[in-house]
Subunit: 193 residues, 2 copies
């Protein structure tokens, strides 16, 4: 997405990530984008609408990517790796947007909030679906829904520690996570436990 | 910790978790605690000092608990389980405090910020130490520092989805995570990979 709306979203995410949504006035956003307050409102409708669009866009991209990965005719473990890599790449590329998302999603009200939470559910459901398929085909151990929340948390929490120019790129970080998740830490457990 | 300071911290965490640190005035906190603004400042020093104390207390409790667990003469996998259970119990009991911590830690300035980040490093270091010990003793696979960040993220991210009265108590959630982390998801990997 390009044009003034994309630029407004990017500036809003940057400002809100730095100062918080509530503490940032629309005037600051007008200044940052070089638009007058009137022109800004013309583009965004309202501050909450802008927060809503930033939130929806992030999750929608993840869902579309996951749908592609899930449909690939490759082993479940490989699809898990691709899901993980795409998520880490997405968080890393849109760090400000994700920080805003995680911090402000409950600021959204009514139908906006419900829509975004349903999209999050749908994305989590895609991970569940992959793990269920892997379990049914005998490739993976069955995983509780809580395990899926843990796996997503492992990825999502990186919004707090990811830094530009880190030692590993997002795909390499994903590989560390997936190797850990697939292989496990224990060396002395019976295989059939 | 009890007394007015504990009550002020609890109220501040509750208010800041709900509305954000920047968006909550000291007057609101004075109202919520039933203290006058003067008495409130007498107890807290400043708003940042209060944020600092809430942040330090949370991590300090985790560090002390982890030190106990690390010293126990039991297998690394069992100590990992205890670390995990204590962390999930702590996050669950102090959900508002942890939300404030994760969202506002970078609001802290100067020496306050450095102190809190050093304490977080120290806590992360305790998890690294346990995993290193387990790897040296042949109990666990060696884990990258990034894997430790992932393991902590798996736990910490729960501040966004934990709900009172959930299906599983914090210790049971921890057990799901630890079983996943120890055993791994893959059923078809060679053991000695």
């Amino acid at each position: 997405m390009t044009g003034p709306k994309a630029r407004i979203r990017r500036e809003a995410a940057r400002l809100w990530a730095a100062k918080g949504y509530h503490a940032t006035g629309v005037q600051e956003l007008a200044d940052a984008t070089g638009l007058g307050k009137g022109a800004l409102y013309h583009h965004i409708g309202s501050k909450e609408q802008l927060l809503f669009e930033i939130s929806v866009e992030g999750v929608a991209v993840l869902i579309a990517g996951a749908e592609e990965v899930l449909a690939m005719p490759i082993p479940a473990a490989e699809r898990l790796r691709l899901l993980s890599r795409r998520l880490m790449r997405n968080i890393s590329d849109d760090l400000a947007e994700w920080k805003v998302f995680f911090h402000e999603v409950n600021t959204l009200t009514g139908a906006n909030r419900r829509t975004v939470l349903e999209l999050r559910e749908r994305y989590e459901g895609q991970w569940c679906r992959l793990l269920d398929e892997g379990a049914r085909s005998g490739e993976l151990r069955p995983a509780d829904r809580i395990a899926v929340k843990g796996i997503l948390g492992m990825h999502n929490y990186s919004y707090l520690w990811l830094r530009e120019g880190g030692r590993l790129d997002p795909e390499e970080l994903a590989d560390v996570f997936v190797d850990l998740l697939l292989g496990g830490l224990a060396l002395d457990l019976p295989i059939d436990r």
